[in-house]
């Protein structure tokens, strides 16, 4: 009999209050050191960070925490409201309050926040509005503005919403990324159709930092942006333009990878992430 192999990653629930709503939040974590808080992409869940969570080189230096945003994965919608009577439309304000409340609940000191896609966009918002709460942010596949993806197709009742969401984001990934990882990401996306469109309300409608990037206190909160060359939604030009307007910010172009780098090809993503983390530590030195 083959010996069972246990992962060092542990999952736990924490119940928090955000704007009077009660959320039982699921998170995975592994490692010790400075907290590295990870936000998944829209309509997805924390398994996108599976490679990072089990990376001994990173977790020997960082406490990696990957949570499920409410209405995703194992984090339910609020337990004390009739959420089913309202259309879900994520706002920047709620998104930020949730993240800060969660970080407070976990008593995280000096965390680095990293998110991809809508998680990258909220990283920029956090840098602008909460520069004292985070040591640094790593917006992945982010931009000051990302219109065009708040589409009814994600919810159309005459189509298979699971497949529309999953195959609709297929070519956000690079063709060079391994099949098994692209299909794992596809699989995650087949599970999140009900939240995807509401998430994209933040991504493509509510999030707009045009003309505000210069207000980000880049001397207080280091901003390092990473964008893959195969991302057609927030292109490398978008990332470079955004970073160029933020004080002390850096932009790193990631070659031959797409919009879900941590999930579609962790080995390629890792070298760029290490570059970003080293840059953050260099600021402190």
């Amino acid at each position: 009999m083959t010996k069972a192999k246990f992962s060092p990653v542990l999952g736990r629930y924490v119940t928090i209050d955000v704007e009077g709503e009660e959320y039982k939040v699921f998170y995975l974590e592994n490692g010790t050191g400075q907290p590295l808080v990870c936000q998944h992409t829209a309509g997805c869940h924390n398994h996108q960070w599976r490679g990072l969570l089990e990376d001994e080189e990173i977790t020997s230096k960082y406490r990696v925490i990957a949570y499920d945003l409410p209405r995703h994965g194992k984090s339910d919608p609020p337990s004390n409201t009739e959420w089913w009577k309202e259309e879900y439309k994520l706002s920047a304000e709620f998104f930020m309050k949730f993240i800060v409340t969660l970080c407070d609940a976990l008593e995280l000191e000096n965390p680095i926040f990293m998110g991809s896609s809508f998680g990258g966009n909220i990283a920029l918002q956090l840098a602008l509005h909460h520069p004292d709460r985070f040591d640094a942010v790593i917006p992945v596949e982010a931009a000051d503005y990302s219109p065009g993806f708040y589409l009814d197709w994600w919810h159309h009742p005459h189509a298979n919403a699971s497949q529309v969401c999953a195959s609709g984001v297929w070519d956000l990934m690079a063709p060079q990324s391994p099949d098994k990882d692209r299909w794992a990401t596809w699989f995650y996306y087949s599970q999140g159709a009900e939240s995807f469109k509401g998430d994209l309300h933040f991504y493509s409608v509510d999030h707009d930092l045009r003309g505000k990037l210069e207000q980000i206190q880049g001397d207080k909160v280091k901003v390092i942006m990473l964008t893959g060359t195969y991302d057609y939604l927030t292109t490398t030009e978008d990332g470079r333009r955004t970073a160029s307007q933020i004080k002390n910010a850096e932009f790193i172009e990631m070659v031959d990878i797409g919009h879900f780098p941590m999930s579609e090809n962790y080995e390629v993503f890792k070298k760029y992430l290490e570059q970003a983390l080293n840059s953050i530590q260099a600021v402190k030195a």
């Binding site: 497949q163 529309v164 956000l172 057609y232």
Partner: protein, 130 residues
């Protein structure tokens, strides 16, 4: 392109499609017709339950289809490379960032998007008939 070469391409694409493991596993309801407009060449593909029912490389003005995917010959050539360059690697990417247009009954496209995505990637093996 001669008729003989056209027929060889049709036969090659059909064989690749009909033997595709993903389409055999998931194509039970993949029934629709669509046009690939490559400027100099137009390909009308008629699908039935995941199998190629007919391919017409010379569709007439009254030949019907559910939806069309139109782009320049250059875009289709890049799309069909074994490893396509960025922004030519899918119909969403090429529509958002290049000259590709999705027209007609897009609902049918969305209803079949899983199999359609798989099928269009066959062009990276068969190449395109231009």
């Amino acid at each position: 392109m001669t008729v003989v070469v056209e027929n060889q391409w049709i036969q090659r694409f059909t064989e690749l499609n009909d033997s595709n493991e993903e389409l055999n596993a998931h194509g039970k309801f993949f029934t629709c017709s669509y046009l690939l407009d490559m400027e100099s060449v137009k390909v009308l593909i008629d699908m039935h339950e995941g199998k190629v029912k007919n391919i017409n490389l010379d569709p007439g003005p009254l030949d019907a289809y559910d939806f069309a995917i139109r782009a320049s010959e250059d875009t289709w050539k890049k799309f069909s490379m074994p490893t396509p360059p960025p922004m030519y690697h899918g119909i969403w990417a090429a529509s958002f960032q290049r000259d590709m247009k999705l027209e007609g009954n897009i609902l049918v496209l969305m209803q079949n998007i899983r199999c359609l995505t798989t099928q269009l990637e066959i062009l990276r093996v068969s190449s395109i008939p231009v």
